[in-house]
């Protein structure tokens, strides 16, 4: 056990040495002097509450200590493991009704690395970023590390790309460093296009300097002097704040020539993209940057060898770069101590859909989907049941309730047919039709396919049409098998990652919700009551509780109802708008 007593000027002045002496005497008296160490630390910045002390490993924080507290502290905390309540900082707060933020599931279960400054700094003031250790990592690499050492530290950290594919960042940098052709480029991929994803936007808006600093460190590591941030034009606030950040960094000499007087030159330019999903694909993004049509090409050669304008180029995603400065400051081993075997650190997720706490969360890799949805997300609104979560964007997969305990990391998700992707999580309740959902995501991929290769351009369209047949009641025996075959073919023959993963929503819903496909195809029924063409719009007299709520809500007066009578739907008037189904609390309309 370590008792970290603050030894800053403030705490020394308010009596820390006497407290230290008292505690040490008490420890000696109880024969604990060998097991417990009292460490005098540097200033903690909380001088007004001093002398302060933090107990490790449990992290209990005491303030306003006096020598006469020593006996109780040692007796209660050190010996019996019970924190002394009166000496806790939170004490005055606990009297009041609002709980501590860290006790609220949504905040308390998060661990912030990439989002370390969220809500704490003004994104438009570089000083506030500096105040939170900003640019210290850049200073450290420029003055005390070789590029090889930087790369080694990133390799030790186990950081994998947060854009989707999860390629080891250190290896990518190492590969790019290898080539002796100049100029080299470092690019930040801020083209976030997944429906329901806003992780990167939030970082660019809220903490733009963390991206710039991460890029500058990567540029130093690979030997580049020029960087580009590719941001879709739909993110005007992100572009504005990045622009301000770049200007401030230039004025402060943190970008440009001879950075921090170390001879290192590096500058960054923003490139607003027109917002095409395919332009998030690295090779397409580089074509787009060159002013050409954004379409991916076959790899190899990798961009590290031949990227932007054919030069060696490193491309990482926003969140990846934001993780770099803390890794440099705290060491790769620190980062690697968080997370799972194959996935280190934390991941930012955008929680959306049928969930109480819609928002951005950052949790250690390996957190279970259950914890993400229920502890942090606050569960499903209106007491409904969790049905599935779509992970990894439009080309990710659906995870059913039976797999809620899956650990969220790169490998576990791939195993069950989903993927990490960039971190979008769309939660669905029992009122979601999985067939219709898969069709929706496929529609997105059909629209966004760049059309360069046939499996993606034509194959997805065929899959989409088949899905439309199924949800509109024209499905026939063998359709599902055809979909599986087509999906596998598209996955194995498409050029780029988007085509290779676009059939995932259909394949994963067939895998986990085959019964719903069968209900649509064989019984012409939609169990979730979503697909209009498969609904009867008839009241089930056994379930109807005669409450009349459907009657009162129908916008076209198509429902006949009187007190103590089962409602009846007039099909001539009914426009199939589903208002009655949405309002019925007894699931009585088929």
């Amino acid at each position: 056990m370590n008792l970290m007593l603050c030894g800053g000027t403030g705490c020394i002045a308010s009596g820390a040495p006497k407290v230290k002496q008292a505690i040490e005497e008490e420890l000696l008296k109880r024969g604990l002097a060998d097991e417990v160490q009292v460490v005098l630390t540097g200033c903690n910045g909380f001088c007004a509450m001093g002398p302060i002390m933090t107990v490790f490993p449990d992290g209990i924080f005491y303030n306003k200590l006096k020598p006469e507290h020593a006996a109780r502290l040692v007796e209660e905390h050190v010996l019996k493991g019970r924190p002394v309540k009166e000496l806790l900082f939170e004490e005055p707060v606990e009297k009041e009704k609002i709980p501590l933020l860290k006790d609220i599931g949504f905040f308390g279960n998060q661990r912030l690395i990439a989002l370390r400054n969220r809500g704490l700094i003004d994104a438009e003031r570089i000083e506030e970023y500096i105040a939170r250790d900003g640019y210290q990592a850049l200073a450290k690499v420029l003055t005390s590390m070789t590029p090889e050492e930087v790369i080694e530290e990133i390799k030790i950290s186990g950081l994998r790309g947060r854009g989707g594919a999860g390629f080891p960042t250190g290896l990518k940098w190492e590969e790019c460093r290898k080539y002796d052709r100049f100029p080299k480029y470092t690019i930040c991929n801020g083209d976030e296009g997944d429906p329901g994803a806003f992780m990167d936007r939030s970082i660019m808006e809220g903490d733009p300097h963390s991206v710039l600093e991460g890029m500058a460190i990567s540029a130093y590591a690979i030997g580049a002097e020029k960087g580009y941030i590719y941001v879709r034009a739909e993110y005007p606030l992100a572009i504005k704040r990045l622009q301000i950040a770049i200007e401030q960094a230039r004025e402060s000499g943190l970008l440009g020539e001879n950075i921090l007087d170390t001879g290192f030159n590096f500058d960054i330019e923003i490139y607003p993209g027109a917002g095409a999903f395919v332009c998030g694909e690295s090779t397409a993004l580089m074509y787009s940057l060159e002013g050409k049509r954004g379409m991916p090409r076959i790899k190899p050669p990798r961009s590290a060898e031949s990227g932007l304008w054919g030069q060696p180029t490193n491309l990482n995603n926003v969140e990846t770069y934001a993780n770099v400065p803390p890794i440099i400051l705290n060491g790769g081993a620190w980062f690697a101590s968080i997370g799972t075997e194959g996935s280190k650190g934390t991941k930012v997720f955008a929680l959306t859909g049928a969930i109480n706490n819609v928002g951005l969360v950052e949790v250690p890799m390996g957190t279970t989907l259950r914890s993400l949805v229920f502890d942090i997300g606050g569960g499903i609104p209106k007491k409904r049941q969790f049905k599935a979560a779509q992970l990894g964007g439009p080309s990710g997969g659906c995870v059913p309730a039976s797999l809620l305990d899956v650990q969220i990391d790169f490998d576990s998700l791939t195993e069950i047919g989903a993927m990490m992707g960039s971190g979008g999580v769309v939660v669905m309740d029992e009122r979601t039709c999985m067939v219709d959902t898969a069709r929706f995501f496929t529609a997105f991929s059909v629209d966004e396919s760049c059309g360069k290769c046939i499996p993606c351009r034509e194959g997805l369209k065929v899959m989409y049409d088949k899905m439309t047949d199924i949800v509109e009641g024209r499905g026939k025996e063998g359709d599902v098998e055809d979909l599986e075959k087509l999906g596998r073919m598209i996955k194995s023959t498409s050029h780029c990652g988007l085509g290779q993963s676009a059939p995932n929503p259909i394949l994963s819903t067939i895998r986990h919700f085959r019964n719903e496909y069968d209900a649509h195809v064989r019984e012409k029924k939609c169990p979730a009551k979503v697909c209009v063409e498969l609904l009867l719009f008839e009241v089930n007299p056994e379930k109807c509780k005669m409450c009349g709520i459907c009657f009162r809500n129908c916008p076209v007066q198509a429902i006949e109802w009187e007190k103590k009578q089962v409602a009846r739907i007039n099909k001539e008037k009914c426009t199939k708008c589903k208002t009655c189904i949405a309002n019925c609390r007894f699931d009585a309309i088929d």
């Binding site: 910045g45 001088c47 007004a48 509450m49 707060v93 009041e96 609002i98 709980p99 501590l100 933020l101 860290k102 006790d103 609220i104 949504f106 905040f107 308390g108 998060q110 661990r111 912030l112 690395i113 989002l115 370390r116 969220r118 809500g119 704490l120 700094i121 003004d122 994104a123 438009e124 000083e127 506030e128 500096i130 105040a131 250790d133 640019y135 210290q136 003055t143 806003f198 936007r201 939030s202 808006e205 809220g206 993110y235 606030l237 992100a238 401030q248 004025e251 402060s252 000499g253 921090l260 007087d261 803390p326 705290n330 968080i338 109480n356 706490n357 819609v358 928002g359 951005l360 969360v361």
Partner: protein, 130 residues
């Protein structure tokens, strides 16, 4: 903004100076209001909330209160959000704000010292890794 070219020593100086200001330790401000202005917050009406806070500060003539902005606080469906920090007290996060609520928070919490519990989500801050 004009900044001189920084040296590593300057980085440390800025850090120390700004830390003091940001944590309101012994700075000239008694209270700080941070309005979370990411795209989600702005879409939900954060600008009006910010204006209401600014108006309240101006009307009261208070010179020891700063109003500032920051990015998304994470809980997007409870926006607009603001964090109120008063010297030596744990910060309080307010959710689902509008200009009227902002004025009440200013009167009761910042001027009167009483947290407006019905609008508050919680107190403190999530842990940042380290």
């Amino acid at each position: 903004m004009e900044l001189p070219k920084l040296s590593i020593e300057d980085l440390k100086k800025i850090k120390e100076r700004e830390m003091a200001r940001m944590t309101l330790r012994e700075g000239e401000h008694r209270a700080k209001i941070v309005v979370h202005m990411g795209t989600c917050g702005i879409a939900a009406g954060a600008r009006k909330v910010m204006e209401a806070f600014l108006e309240a500060v101006t009307e009261s003539g208070a010179r020891d209160v700063v109003v500032t902005q920051s990015g998304c606080a994470g809980l997007c469906n409870r926006e607009p959000m603001a964090t109120v920090e008063i010297v030596e007290k744990a910060p309080v996060k307010y959710v689902d704000l509008n200009p009227e609520k902002a004025k009440r928070i200013f009167q009761e919490h910042i001027q009167g010292g009483q947290v407006v519990e019905e609008y508050a989500l919680g107190r403190g801050s999530e842990s940042t890794a380290g």
